[in-house]
């Protein structure tokens, strides 16, 4: 449903993304992984319309949306969360989520109703009256998720929603993400927590130094030579293979 076609993003002399393509199947959870600085968040910004790509196209349901403003893309069904959470700090949780809900609901009462429903879905129903700035890190991540969900998106871009959470918080939020997919929302997620990627994603793309170097099932990608080298350095794939061979012999 979402296609990124040969996107290149250049900031002056810096080539952030070079000729990257990806294809998200409707109803899937697709992962986007890669070392730090690979250009993952930049690619998200391009998909959500915050950056105009130097070259290439973004298509949603086979419609070219490369020239559309972010708010138009939100209306056509793309929602994103931010890696560095961006709550409306002066507002409470319910008001935060309601801003998202207003995208599809004009009447205040309907929007508030939708916001409460989404809050229940992500487990924020007890915090509705709390100020957004008083939430814990995990709470703020949930709030990012809730706000994006309140726009009733067709595809949800999650930018490291698990980063900074402790293992038990991650365990709590994984079922939430799966239930979002089960409710019919396609998900594209940037994630470093491999446990979650292996657990959730059906298909994974690997971005390194702005180039798409691999794609496939999580298991296949993890054994890919290029991917291992991108994370651990040149020659490491060979070394790992030799080590495991040694173990097998022993």
């Amino acid at each position: 449903m979402l296609q990124v076609k040969n996107v290149t993003m250049r900031f002056g002399g810096l080539l952030a993304i070079s000729d990257a393509s990806l294809d998200v199947r409707q109803g899937s959870i697709t992962g986007l992984i890669g070392p730090n600085g690979a250009g993952k968040t930049t690619l998200f910004a391009v998909i959500a319309g915050f950056l105009r790509p130097t070259q290439g196209q973004i298509a949603l349901f086979d419609k070219d949306i490369t020239g559309e403003e972010p708010h138009r893309r939100a209306a056509s069904g793309i929602a994103r969360t931010f890696q560095i959470v961006q709550p409306f700090a002066g507002l409470n949780v319910q008001e935060n989520i309601t801003v998202g809900a207003y995208l599809r609901h004009t009447k205040p009462a309907d929007a508030v109703e939708k916001a409460r429903e989404v809050a229940r879905q992500v487990g924020l129903e007890k915090d509705l009256d709390k100020s957004a700035s008083s939430l814990t890190v995990a709470g703020r991540k949930r709030l990012e998720l809730a706000r994006a969900l309140a726009t009733e998106p067709k595809i949800l871009l999650l930018d490291e929603v698990l980063a900074g959470l402790n293992p038990s918080e991650i365990r709590d939020i994984i079922p939430v993400i799966r239930s979002i997919r089960d409710s019919g929302v396609t998900i594209l997620m940037i994630e470093h927590v491999m446990q979650a990627v292996m657990n959730l994603c059906e298909h994974v793309y690997v971005l390194a130094q702005g180039k798409m170097i691999a794609e496939g099932t999580p298991a296949a990608v993890c054994n890919d030579q290029a991917v291992i080298e991108a994370y651990l350095g040149k020659g490491s794939a060979e070394r790992l293979a030799r080590q495991s061979q040694g173990e097998n012999h022993a």
Binding site: H71, A74, A79, Q86, E95, P108
Partner: protein, 321 residues
Amino acid sequence: MMRGYFWIIVITLLIAATPLLTSSNTFFNFTVVVLIIALAAQGWNLLGGIGGQTSFGHAMFFGIGAYTASMLQTHLGVNAWIALIAAIAAGSLAGLIVGFLSFRAGLRGSYFALVTLAFAELLRVLANASEWTGGASGLLLKLEPSLANMQFSSRPTFMLLALAFVFISLVITQHIVNSRFGAHLVAVRENEDAAKALGVDVLTVKLKAISLSGAMTAAAGVLYVQYFLYIDAAIAFGIWISIEALLAPMVGGRGRVLGPLIGAFTLHGLGEITKSFAGRVPGIDLMVFAVVLIIVIAFASAGILGLLKKLSDRFAAKGGA
């Protein structure tokens, strides 16, 4: 949907009842000025308080309103009420133009404040030079009290007229705060990028806000000229009204519907009281303004209403425990 309207009605009725209690012209003079400032400040509050786009040049809208109304009446003999509508439209249009130029260029914070100041100053210089605006000697409206001319020989009547304007501005603002547009405006104030990601058309929201804001402040300019029957460039486009328009919401409670009215009454009330004590020390009321502002910034950055809310929350928390 009574949310917020209760206090608007109570306060309006309280002010409307004052002619039953007093017949002091000093009091009505004072109240008329406060109400005019409260109206101008409500315009500022809509854009700067709720929308977070701090203007330092709301004098431009005040002056455009005042000059449009007086020029139409003196040069073209237009009826005062029609001139009022034209002036409000002119303020709204001016808002759109300034907003389009500055918001489309992405100006925010102090840059936006400086641009608004520049526009106000530019208009002041132009009004001071142009023949149409009466140059440096200003424009005088002919004294002809009648309902059709929006002039009243009785001060309480004019106070009620000004109060009606303020009441309408309060209702409009409260309605916006309760609405989707209000939520979008607050979202833009809090975080533009997050707002965009949630489908908020940031530029349109800001343009709507500045045009409404310009309209309200222009109406205040019209009231001013209808009351004092005189306008010149230093009054209409002077920095004093830009400061009054932003000081009242700051003191009363920035972004709160009743903030500008409460702030204007507090500031000018304190100013008058000090004047009556200190007698002939010139500018003593301005010194009071400065002190009040410092106190507010240091101890109650959310203004008087913000402070009241904090105290009532604390009280409620204690009562519940």
